[in-house]
């Protein structure tokens, strides 16, 4: 058995990695903080947020309002931008000093980049891309729910002996908790032992913030193979409904669009009020990303497409036949209340 660098006996607390970029917290970090609070309640387990970066004043308060009992802040100019080597070194040292029992990170590109590296450095288990978390009643062990391939199989994974029990969780799986601004907790500034020579990664260019966050969309119009790379009508419908546009994996594999707004098992889990799914057959790998929608509309040319099993309103036709009259009908309906 590969032994982790510390064991279960010494381990305590749930730690949540508070991922930030350019001074903005990732939504998934607050989602995880809310979930950690819920798991810890009644068990007397402290919940600790860990923040790495440069000049982060203010972000700790957001984590406290979301449920942290304590926030540890590693503030250093060398941590201004995420680098695998710099962040792994600092975070690993914090972990070895604090010995958390559980460590949760968002399954964002950087969260996964960091988690995979830290787990091996600490010789511990990592349950990746969880769709739910719970604590085992008798043992308090973390159980991560992950989706297996095909057919909607869920697997429950635990890490009995090695510590910390690490998990990454998809953005959008848990809701962001209502902030409790009256909540008080301590913010601890931790010393950073990091030198320039520890960082081999050079960030040449960095651009964030232009993208949309489809996990927060109230209305989502999604397109797949059936759009044949033409998103014009889909974009028009989404903008009429003040919504966002997402897609299944096919448009990414076909090179029509990037992965930024990909929905599903390997993309984002969304929770809109309304999802209009156009030209997507509805394999499990996709539907896992929209099934939390309040109402689902499916438009597909194939009456046998599995998406219709998952939809509230079903239209069997080519999306290009349906979307133009639908856009007109929405315009008329909106016109009635003054339009927008």
């Amino acid at each position: 058995m590969t032994k982790s660098l510390y064991g279960a006996k010494e381990a305590n607390a749930i730690w949540v990695y508070l991922e930030q970029d350019e001074g903005r917290l990732e939504g998934v970090s607050l989602e995880l903080m809310g979930k950690a609070r819920e798991l810890a309640n009644g068990r007397g387990i402290p919940v600790v947020g860990v923040l790495l970066g440069d000049q982060l004043s203010g972000l700790a308060q957001e984590a406290i309002a979301a449920g942290a009992d304590e926030v540890r802040v590693a503030d250093d100019p060398l941590l201004r931008q995420y680098t695998t080597d710099g962040y792994t070194k600092v975070f690993t040292e914090l972990i070895l000093e604090g010995k958390p029992d559980i460590l949760l990170l968002g399954a964002t590109p950087n969260g996964r980049d960091l988690a995979g590296r830290i787990a091996v450095r600490l010789r511990t288990g990592l349950t990746a891309d969880c769709t739910d978390l719970k604590l085992e009643e008798e043992t308090g062990l973390l159980i991560g729910e992950v989706t297996g391939f095909g057919g909607g199989i869920l697997a429950y994974i635990k890490c009995p002996d090695n510590r910390p029990q690490m998990a990454t969780v998809r953005p959008g799986v848990f809701a962001v908790p209502e902030p409790d601004t009256a909540r008080q907790a301590k913010v601890v500034s931790v010393p950073v032992k990091l030198a320039e020579k520890d960082i081999k990664v050079q960030v040449v260019e960095h651009a964030v913030g232009q993208g949309v966050d489809i996990t927060k969309a109230e209305v989502l119009v999604a397109a797949g193979r059936g759009c044949q790379g033409d998103f014009t009508l889909v974009n028009e419908l989404a903008s009429l409904l003040d919504g966002e546009v997402g897609w299944s994996r096919v448009p990414v594999d076909e090179g029509w669009v990037s992965r930024d707004c990909m929905i599903g098992q390997t993309g984002y889990v969304t929770r809109p009020k309304l999802a209009i799914v156009c030209g997507i057959s509805g394999a499990f790998q996709f539907t896992v990303g929209v099934e939390k929608a309040e109402t689902i509309v499916a438009i597909n040319i194939d009456a046998e497409a599995p998406i219709f099993e998952q939809a509230d309103y079903c239209i069997v036709d080519d999306m290009f036949n349906v979307l133009p009259p639908l856009i007109e009908a929405v315009k008329r309906a909106r016109g009635g209340n003054g339009g927008r």
Binding site: I157, G209, L241, V330
Partner: protein
């Protein structure tokens, strides 16, 4: 210019649409399921072969799995890879990401003299995306995950790539040797070279290594080396949906739909 030695890690996976679940035993039936090279790994092979064309050198394919995976490695040779290694031993089976990345890293160490290790962004079956950073850590190499537009700068011994971020991207430069995971769809994978295909099938160099052939601690591979365990399986519960089919012309369907969606307009 110095030639490059590129290691392309590939995984052979069951075709997802053919995987069936036995709902009584809650086991995954793989019996008749056909396999394929993990689709994201086709982007790995393409990137490896393109870099070899630019810089010279060779592409070595590495995979882990049963001996029946060997023909898939021959497909990679037919695409243009030079040699292939299959880590195949019952002792490697049932490995989680820690044990998998360790075994692959030790296999790569034995192959030796590598500059760049390319992996797929994630596998279509497990989809953890955690093996590439794991390999990088075991080999003390730098890493670039979700990479596209990857350039090797041989004079400075660096590699530069664009990588995906939440809501954006960055361009980073790291020293070789480097492990990179290639973003899905980063390129258009080439087809097999039909002339190479006959060679690959008949005499393509595919070496099968058992655990004892590479320097691994038997306690750190397979099930014993995996700190995580599967505690149970369940069928995902689907939300009950109305499943109301709207009839008529597209205009009538659109009208009926808008009436039903009033609350959201």
């Amino acid at each position: 210019m110095r030639p490059l030695h590129i290691i392309a890690c590939v995984k052979v996976v069951p075709k997802p649409e053919e995987v069936k679940v036995n709902s009584e035993t809650m086991t995954i039936e793989r019996g008749d399921v056909r396999s394929e090279i993990n689709p994201p790994d086709m982007n790995v092979l393409e990137m490896a072969l393109t870099l070899k064309e630019q810089h010279g050198g060779k592409v070595t394919v590495v995979a882990m799995g049963p001996p029946l995976f060997a023909p898939y490695l021959r497909l990679a040779l037919a695409m243009g890879a030079d040699e292939a290694y299959l880590l195949s031993d019952r002792a490697f089976a049932a490995a989680d990401t820690l044990a998998t990345s360790y075994a692959l890293a030790q296999g790569i160490r034995k192959i030796g003299d590598y500059d760049l290790i390319l992996c797929g962004e994630e596998s279509s079956d497990g989809a953890t995306a955690q093996v590439p950073p794991g390999i990088a850590e075991w080999l003390n190499a730098s890493q670039i995950t979700y990479a596209e537009d990857l350039e090797v700068l041989p004079d400075s011994g660096m590699v530069k790539a664009k990588r995906e971020l939440a809501g954006g991207y960055e361009v980073i430069q790291v020293p070789l040797p480097c492990t990179a995971s290639v973003k899905v769809g980063a390129n258009e994978p080439r087809f097999m070279d039909m002339e190479r295909k006959a060679w690959a099938e008949a005499e393509g160099p595919v070496t099968i290594w058992a655990a004892e052939d590479i320097d691994v601690d038997p306690e750190m591979i397979g099930l014993p080396g995996s700190p995580t365990i599967v505690d149970g399986l369940a069928q995902a519960e689907a939300t009950e949906r109305k499943r109301e089919f709207l009839a008529g012309t597209p205009q009538e369907q659109a009208k009926a739909l808008v009436e039903r969606l009033q609350a959201y307009l």
